[in-house]
Symmetry: D2
Subunit: 344 residues, 4 copies
């Protein structure tokens, strides 16, 4: 099917949630993708445009997620379902020969015991070894040939992008204070996510208890960092999109953070490292796959503050998923990801 | 029971919704009320403070709504339940000898056919004749002795306060364009009320189809206005509280709106009529029972714009309910309603 | 200079305001444009990226607006300056042989007396006859060959798109109630535009006194509508972008609004006419040049409500300017304007 | 003058800024205060109601700040001016025999060198020794007899309330990550405070460079804490009011934070210490003088997160100023401070 256009046929499984809809937005304009399938359990049978009018231009009708139907119509599947709900579907799609980018949490851990402690029983643990943790800047070689890419969580993406370049120089105690837009919590109807509950407030939640904390810890080790005593404090902001992650750390006096960041990201198309003391802001990366990083380091005192800003639906979800897709295709990682924030 | 304190024992039925919680806030500080009962179906058995921490000072435990239990502990009941859910409870409380202020829609109509067309079957129609439509400035005499006060809807309150003083001079076609905060829609979990769905948008909804349109029409006639061809267009704003109602009307050349407003509201403690051309803003009345009214009239062209601002939870719900309560008690209507907006 | 790329060299005069920055965002990604000049009085000498970090990718340095310098480096100029400030610059650029799209108000009126009543003395009235009022859908033939396009105001664009197709059937009294994001008011520092003054409020302002009212009236006549008694009531919303315009009108019983809208916009790439009773929302067109139109008409009563939603910086300013630019170039009007709203 | 009413005559100097207006709101309803003077340089000659319509009930006319005029009409002055602007006025008022609560920064430091390093020359350093740093819970004995109370900054109030009870057990490195509403930055017109610049973003600013950092450090020592290496990272939130302060610290294994907080605040009327792991939210204290404190401590790892929520205009400014006023008068500290947050 994709022969005539030269495009890869792609499916978005879970297309009406926030990450899924952002995938549709990006993929429907991607020069190398032909979006052929969009699924939704609740709205199967309706058009995508009837749920999200701004996506009516896709002309897509929603179907229920069915491995066979997806496998017939697509070569690559993006899965944006709640964890657990996606496990068997992802496994089925991989078995059917599709390459899969899973935006959910099910395949992000190598240690199944950690996963099961935080999430419950895993129904396709046999795939954990094979799955590639797709923090693209650190995994692009593996992503290129992967059958299954586990797209990192939004919070881990933000924290890891700031921490990894200096990880070898960190003290043991690491505090990550993250502030996220509400779209990171998904589109399910919950009282605590109502406009009137969120506006004019900032809400700390799951302090030290969020499932992204063990993902940060395991991923730090995965990419060569020491095993840190990391404490994660997420906060809900009255904004729809955007994620600021502030890391409060001890940092060796002889660590040259500026040089390490430059070495890590100097050639990266999506990462901007700001001068010491200049801080990132989510608005600058809104609607994009970009990352801004800021830092300040008192060498004498041995303390530092490392901060990143991403769009939780961009680099924190759909954007990075498309970046990984580009990587899997072997095309320029920037394909289909050239948006500029529409400010204000 | 109330002897020792000299206070009237009051109950709030449906205390965890937005109108109910605002009633608790006001009544727990009211010098003539002793708040003895707060009910919630979902959270019965829990403390009110566990649901709304800012109301923990009340020390109240939530119970399920039970006519007998409420009647034993309270003399006046404020009912803030979804329409339909409250009909039998209100009727039961009245039969049990309590005086009731119903914040819901069930007893606002005199014409049961109109009610049933818009809301469905009415289960206590026998009370419709007796119920007093509590737009206090226009009904205080009846409210004083009422057993059952039907508190007006937020939208009708806003529109009627602007329209009634000049109603005899209006042309037939009346357009009401209202802009409301989300708390007016209640605290039920709905996807369309999520922060991320509401922020950075204004959403017209139920244009010409909102249940408050027939309430406006019937109430205009009730207070002596002609039967107008009123078209109501509500909008959802990205704010928690506040309601601006703009009435676009034809107005007789010989109508002196300024004088009519002064005559209607010059002595009213909660109403501020602004000079011609100065427009009201919801922020000025936030958290209060106050009303601001603005107007502009081109006598030559015979057109006018009449605008009111209220807090949809204040004069639009709990504030007016307390005003009616004061009226029923025969005390100064300002008792317990002396808040000033906490701006910004 | 443009030979090698086949691109037209363009300048943005006033590149740091909201409309100017949006022009930069659009033009820097436009396949037929080479953005060579960006000006700012206040920030001349600095890079555009130092003022708006999200535009750093342009690599542009800001210069003071100088007709000669602009004329040397660009073939088409977009001018986004406060009215009055731009008059002489626009005239100079036109005299220097550039084609100009003026986003400001100076050349929108044919009747200089009306302009001067509302804005003050006009310093280049000789150009008023030549200037084309660039509501593209109604003026594209003239825009194609124009030296000077006066880009319509955001409010007139919203109102006219809803009113023009049915204008011949309107009664005399027309009320336009518009609700706008704050970016429509520009980026100048004013107390009343501070976050804390705007949030949790809706502010009516300049009711019946806004300068866009006479622009609506003159433009209606320009495009063949009768001379209406139009009253315009703008409101400031606590959102950054977006404009909803609600027109409350009398409409002939024999007017088939649906057919007229279809006839007017059925082939228009940027306009979506919704089914009767479905209402537009600004969020659907955010960041785009799109227009959504909704309507409801009671033929028996002869009243109607006509509503449009645009992005005040998109179709209301920079988007339409680029649409006009495409028209001037004779390319597809959609070039560089294929964004989809990034929701939520 | 105050004899007849039994009320103390009070002045608010700088009554149109956010802290000043909140002082007016509180003092105009305070049972022991008679608000006789409100000043504004910019709006002298106008009524307070013409600037802030919601304060029109005060009936006050604004005058320019003049020590003699204030001294004649008031016994206690609240000064809410930008630092520097207030120094001579405060000194003059004290010399004239008034008791003064200064909401500004000028008299918060004991070490004039620290003040001058961060703020510039001090024009009344002779008063620094006498001024009482009015973090009421820790200074009420001194406040009672003070002629001059230096009201703490909003950020130091938030951080100190969380840190002081456990200060003796802290490790050297203390990170304070604070998130504030925009009213904390005052009401001056600045581009970066425009609605469109603030919405849908969180902005880190003055990281490690904010003037409240040395105030925190000096005040910690003042109240008996060791000299800590404290690093302060403030952030601007898209909310009008509210301040969340998160302290990331090392804490001794043998420190029983719960007991220490209980000991410190168990009897405090304005402070709520939440159970371990439950986190405070600014909305719960909005419009009030209340403080919520949350904490979590891993004794084994020796790390803790201590969090407080205040209203930056309440306990962070005007509320605490009134609390200090009550203290100076020897009345119950809760007088005039019994508001409940008006949620949502």
């Amino acid at each position: 099917v994709s022969v005539s256009t030269g495009r890869v046929r792609v499916a978005v499984v879970g297309a009406t949630g926030y990450a899924g809809a952002e995938l549709v937005r990006l993929l429907s304009a991607h020069p190398d993708a032909e979006l052929t399938v969009a699924t939704s359990e609740r709205d199967a049978g309706n058009s995508l445009g009837s749920v999200h009018r701004y996506l009516a231009h896709t002309g897509l009708d929603l179907i229920a997620a069915d491995v066979g139907a997806i496998a017939e119509a697509a070569d690559v599947a993006f899965v944006a379902l709640p964890h657990g709900a996606s496990t068997r579907i992802v496994a089925g799609l991989v078995e059917s020969g599709l390459r899969v980018v899973d935006v959910g949490a099910d395949f992000r851990f190598r240690d199944v015991a950690v996963y099961e402690y935080w999430y419950g029983e895993h129904e396709a643990a046999e795939l954990l070894d094979e799955a590639v943790y797709g923090l693209t800047e650190y995994a692009r070689k593996e992503v290129r040939t992967a059958r299954l890419v586990a797209n990192p969580g939004c919070y881990p993406t933000g924290a890891l992008m700031a921490l990894l370049p200096v990880a070898a120089h960190l003290g043991t105690a690491v505090f990550v204070d993250s502030k996220s837009g509400t779209s990171g919590a998904g589109r399910a109807a919950e009282t605590k996510q109502l406009f009137a509950e969120v506006t004019e407030n900032i809400r700390p939640y799951k302090t030290w208890q969020h499932r992204h904390q063990p993902e940060m810890v395991e991923s730090l080790v995965r990419f060569g960092a020491p095993d840190l005593n990391l404490r994660f404090s997420p906060h809900l902001l009255p904004i729809a999109r955007g994620l600021l992650s502030s890391c409060y750390v001890e940092l060796d006096a002889d660590c040259d953070a500026g040089e390490l960041y430059e070495r890590a990201y100097g050639e990266e198309p999506f990462v901007t490292v700001l001068p010491e003391g200049t801080m990132p802001e989510p608005r600058n990366v809104r609607g994009t796959n970009r990352v801004e990083i800021g830092w300040v380091h008192d060498r004498e005192a041995g303390v530092a503050t490392l901060v990143s800003a991403i769009d939780n639906l961009g680099k924190g979800a759909a954007g990075q998923a498309v970046q990984n897709f580009n990587c899997m295709l072997g095309v320029d990682e920037r394909r289909g990801l050239d948006q500029t924030a529409a400010l204000p």
